[in-house]
Amino acid sequence: MPTKIEKDIVTGTDTTGHEWDGVKELNTPLPKWWVWTFYVTIVWGVGYCIAYPSLPWFKGLLGFSQRAEIAQRMEAAKAQKGPMMERIRASSLEDIRKNAQLFEFARAGGRVVFADNCATCHGSGGAGALGYPNLADDDWLWGGDLTAIHETIAYGIRNADDRSRNSQMPKFGVDGVLSAAQIDDVAEYVLSMSNRASNAQAAARGKPLYADNCVACHGEKGEGNREVGSPRLADQIWLYGGDKAAVVKSIAQSRAGSMPAWAGRFDEATIKMLAVYVHGLGGGE
């Protein structure tokens, strides 16, 4: 309860008139620098509200917009990369590889695009997963030189694009071409090519069946055929698993992995950068 405002003897300033158990509160004025700074912030705040979009319907006198700013910065970044991107676009894949500057730029740019678009299936660093090829190894379904990798990225595999890579393995079990026992024998024979067979007799029985049904695409010694994307069966790399159950399933139901075409989504230079990056993961030919 305010009582009497009186002058304090020591400081010469007034009290607030409040008193608690004999303790009086001094009404010391705020330092002038503080008060003036406070006034300046108010003036500044008003000016800010007029200059910048401060209300839902008011755009501000400066016409500032964060959206426009980000668009502008994206344009600037694009313009900055422009000359290099143009050089990449105009150069052949082989020229990019031979020019240290272009090569570094392509690998750095390719890494970013790969992480955003390809890593979902192929894993960061191209590690792959079951059913999604490892891009760092030396096993290539459709070819591992720069041109082949470039084509695969641009048009994809088994998609709606006319230029996409295409092939279809018959469903030997589902379509009744081979019996379950025969499939088992062929699986044993396939595994024997990479010294994984557990039943030599079954493998021997599977050999003529393989010769009749599989050789056309997978080759006599299981060397595969990159023209049609048929995997090498005589190596240690198994896209869908290398145990017998997985091989049996592959023969009975067939496999047909698919990859989208990127030609429509990326410009030419970006696809070239991706090809150079994937080629440089370690397995490029």
Binding site: V10, T11, T28, R97, A100, F103, G123, S124, G125, G126, A127, G128, N134, A136, D137, D138, D139, R232, D235, Q236, I237, G280, L281, G282, G283, G284
Partner: protein, 488 residues
């Protein structure tokens, strides 16, 4: 002075009622330091000249580093990420040398304070140096203490306005030179000066000039001793740095008391040497009375020593009524006990040892530092690659920093693996001992793949070592890492 229990005394010395409030806020009392000459003043001028001379002129020293390298002796190149100090070139990752310098500075400061109080504050601190310069300018334009006090008390007149304008213009000029010199350490000095005056310098350059111009003007022109008393933490822990054997500016009370005014020819019997002229107070840049003893505000500049010496000379008494002295000595004199100055105390030895140790470590590491640095990073995705023939491949990123001016080819050897197949992405036919070209004063990054047959691996993890050497004569740089394979 501030925050102490003060008593209001009557003019006759009789005490009136004590004021019991502790003053938490005190109005600033303007300090008008009087001009004085003497040994400490001369020392102060000498140190000031050296410090300011170094600051303003050092960026202009040239140092030839050959082509494609800046020829400025002292340069911090922010965009190129290099620090140049004469023959020494520092890369960003060697910033620990800066830490070493800071430690040297800190322990050097502790050592100086333990020996002779706050001499850093009084002689070499930028706040003191620039304030001193600003005070001298003020003195030249407005006159000495009394004239300045009179001028400030006068109502505004044309003459007063002219003097004040001239003073602030001079202060601003010095401030601008100070801010301008700062940026010269961050670029080629002649080019920077040209750019600044032709309006072509960067926004950052102008911003830093503006910042340092305003801080110099405000701190040295207006804030002055307030910075030392209220802003700087150093005075607050001087008590912890000093001991009874530290030389600090002291009033020798035993000699000075009982003080009183002195008429020429009067006897010195039964009184002290202090003639209570208050010249020591008038010359003090922080406006304190040293006769009250060592205080927070005292920056240890010794100007009061000079002031007192001039008075003692005039009244014919020996100098040294105010002097750099130790607390123990003063007590010993009062107690009439023998006393010997002790320079070597444990803390002096400790600080000296630390200074020497850090300087040695820095010197040795600078002398023996390699001009190349190598980093080997394992690829973690995938951890390893199984190849079609069953062998196992691991991928690494090798980063080579070549701090020399000339390009170098580093020969790469792998230890710990039986005949691995080495491939370097981007280099054709690298061979078993590939050469990795590295540009001069630059960084080269290579992706290196190592493959070995699975049978050659004894376990999941094999310790291996990358060894790179620039020539047969140099010691190879070795980096340990691991080669991973499938679980056995």
């Amino acid at each position: 002075m501030h925050g102490v229990l003060e008593t209001k005394g009557g003019k006759d010395g009789s005490r009136t009622e004590p004021v019991s409030e502790v003053q938490l806020y005190a109005d600033r009392v303007r300090v008008y330091p009087k001009k004085i000459s003497g040994n400490f003043r001369r020392l102060k001028w000498a140190i000031l000249s050296v410090c300011l001379g170094l600051y303003y002129l050092a960026p202009w020293i040239r140092w030839d580093r050959g082509p494609n390298a800046p020829d400025q002796a002292l340069l911090i190149d922010m965009t190129g990420r290099r620090g140049y100090f004469f023959a020494i070139e520092i890369w960003p990752q060697e910033v620990y040398y800066i830490a070493g310098l800071l430690m040297l500075g800190a322990f050097g400061l502790f050592l100086a304070t333990t020996l002779a109080g706050r001499v850093w504050c009084g002689y070499a601190c930028p706040q003191t140096v620039w304030t001193d310069l600003f005070m001298q300018v003020e003195r030249l334009i407005e006159g000495d203490r009394n004239q300045r006090m009179r001028l400030d008390a006068q109502p505004l007149s044309l003459a007063k306005a002219a003097k004040k304008t001239l003073k602030h213009a001079a202060w601003l000029f010095i401030s601008f030179a100070t801010g301008g010199a700062w940026i010269l350490y961050f670029g080629d000095a002649p080019a920077m000066v040209r750019d600044v005056f032709s309006g072509e310098a960067s926004v950052e350059a102008y911003a830093f000039i503006a910042l340092l111009t305003s801080t110099t003007y405000l701190l040295a022109g207006w804030a002055r001793e307030q910075v030392c008393t209220y802003m700087c933490p150093w005075p607050r822990f001087q008590a912890a740095m000093l001991d009874g054997e530290s030389l600090v500016v002291s009033y020798r009370k035993h000699r000075g008391e009982k003080r009183g005014s002195y008429k020429k020819g009067a006897s010195w019997e039964g009184r002290g040497d202090c003639v209570d002229c208050k010249l020591c107070v008038a010359v003090c840049p922080t406006g304190i009375d040293i006769r009250d003893g060592l205080q927070l505000e005292c920056i240890g500049c010794g100007l009061c020593v000079d002031a007192c010496a001039s008075i003692m000379d005039r009244v014919g008494r020996p100098r040294g009524l105010i002097a750099f002295d130790t607390e123990r000595h003063l007590r010993a004199v009062e107690a009439k006990t023998p006393y010997r100055y002790r320079l070597l105390r444990p803390r002096v030895l400790l600080y000296s040892a630390l200074v020497v140790f850090i300087a040695l470590v820095m010197g040795v590491s600078l002398f023996f530092r390699s001009t190349a640095e190598v980093h080997v990073l394992r690829e973690r995705s995938p951890l390893f690659v199984a190849l079609s023939d069953g062998s196992i491949r691991n991928d690494f990123t090798v980063k080579i920093l070549n701090k020399a001016r000339d390009p170098l080819d580093f020969a790469l050897e792998i230890e710990g693996l039986p005949a691995p197949t080495i491939k370097v992405i981007g280099l054709e036919d690298a061979g078993p001992r590939p050469f990795l070209p590295t540009p001069g004063d630059g960084v080269a990054t290579y992706r290196v793949t190592l493959a070995v047959p699975a049978a050659a691996l004894k376990g999941e993890q094999t310790e291996i070592r990358f060894a790179l050497r620039a020539s047969e004569r140099t010691k190879p740089i070795k980096r340990d890492t691991v080669f991973l394979g499938p679980r056995k």
